[in-house]
């Protein structure tokens, strides 16, 4: 093996980027070439010594400054539409030059005449669309609630999938989803309920509901999915629920290992 290739392979080996076959091949090279073995040993020693490093915990001040900054930026961002309106207004004034004035005046008169010749219709149609949108959401929510109560798992699954079509589900639907997550006999329905609830994790009721549901879960796949979700959310309150689950239920050994890892990642 050429020196440069050896060096590259050594870094891959040390960083754990070689697969099993690659590792075996590299170890064979070390066995066959003592000079490479010496170099590897001394560098491997330096590499492993880097594990001795200790990093202190960042202080609470860092969190405070970050969330203050984020809050300020979010507020500023919300205020942006006003700036946009300002831009539109300045563009309007820019366009409002004498040569355009007559054209605009004629257009306004034309629109006015058209409006009076055709009264009411546009308003009604806009109102009808708005009302029918609200009705659609209401009907869909009702459909979700009905489907979730069906005895067929397929129907209940369809009910959960309907939730994803609603832009912002109301409290009744959220409560029904949490109920499904805790009580549904079918694992697939429970998993689908978690997926649907993920869209609402910013709602404290949903977060609390997810945490409380941990102790009710019997299925390993649901337990693991909730563990992954809690790690993703870095939800510290869930640690206690996982510990209770491990204490009170007989868990599969790989699930137990997974939950322990998740707790470590959250802490």
């Amino acid at each position: 093996m050429q020196q440069e290739k050896f060096e590259t392979k050594m870094m891959e080996y040390l960083a754990g980027e070689l697969d099993q076959e690659g590792r075996a091949e590299f170890e064979r090279v070390l066995k066959d070439y003592p000079e490479y073995k010496d170099e590897f040993d001394s560098l491997c020693h330096a590499w492993e010594r880097m594990d001795e490093t200790t990093v202190p915990e960042p202080s609470e001040r860092m969190n405070e400054s970050f969330f203050e900054m984020l809050h300020a930026k979010t507020q500023k961002d919300k205020a942006k539409p006003k700036d946009l309106w300002k831009g539109v207004r300045s563009l309007y004034y820019f366009l409002w030059r004498p040569q355009l004035a007559y054209g605009m005046l004629l257009l306004t008169i034309g629109l006015g005449v058209g409006y009076f010749l055709n009264p009411g219709k546009t308003d009604d149609s806009v109102r009808t669309v708005a009302v029918s949108d609200a009705e659609t959401v209401e009907v869909r929510e009702q459909l979700v609630l009905t489907l979730l109560e069906q005895s067929s798992a397929n129907k209940r699954l369809q009910g959960v999938n309907e939730v994803n079509k609603i832009q912002k589900a109301d409290e009744k639907v959220i409560k029904a989803l949490l109920q499904t997550l805790n009580k549904d006999a079918n694992v697939n329905v429970r998993l689908a309920a978690i997926e649907a609830l993920i869209n609402y994790v910013e709602n404290p009721m949903v977060r609390e509901g997810l945490i409380q549901s941990i102790v009710h879960q019997e299925s390993p796949i649901v337990q693991i999915t909730l563990a992954d979700l809690m790690v993703a959310l870095q939800e510290k309150k869930s640690v206690e629920s996982f510990k209770t689950l491990m204490r009170t239920k007989e868990l599969d050994s790989s699930v137990k290992q997974k939950l322990e890892n998740s707790i470590d990642q959250i802490i």
Partner: protein, 184 residues
Amino acid sequence: MHSLTDNALMLQVKSGDLGKLGLLYERHKKRLFGFFYNMNGNASLSEDLVQNVFERMLKYKHTFTGDGTFTAWMFTTARNVNYDHHRKHKPTLHQNDVTTMEYKLQDPEDVERGMIKEDENSLLQQALKKLAPEKREILVLSKLKEMKFSEIAQVLGCSEGAAKVKAHRALKDLRTVFMQLETG
């Protein structure tokens, strides 16, 4: 679960849902803090630099395309923040300072000029501080931050092969510094 991956969250931040940056911060604050702390050994400065990274992510959120990994994009930003900080706080050099400058470059103590020295107890920390910043950086990223060489290559703007060669050279230098510290 897809909607909660780092890339998906950053794309949501990009589209205006700035609150999602809070989740990314919770996930990566320790890793970033560790990166800066390993680079400069100063906890208070590291906290400020973490804050700068997230401010910059918001400012340049439009540049995130989601093609590479979020981690690579974040560490590229962290690297720029670190570089800018040290560039701003570097003492001004004049023409007649050339001799002093050459001397300074040879003296490892002066490489870390401007950094507040905290917690120099371990030999490793001393050794890391004696390495050139770019060498320390690649070792911190590959070993301590457990980044893949493909990601490091994106951060450094070089090929994956070149990243491995650089890491190897840096490790060799670290070994030499260890030996110097132990013998003398």
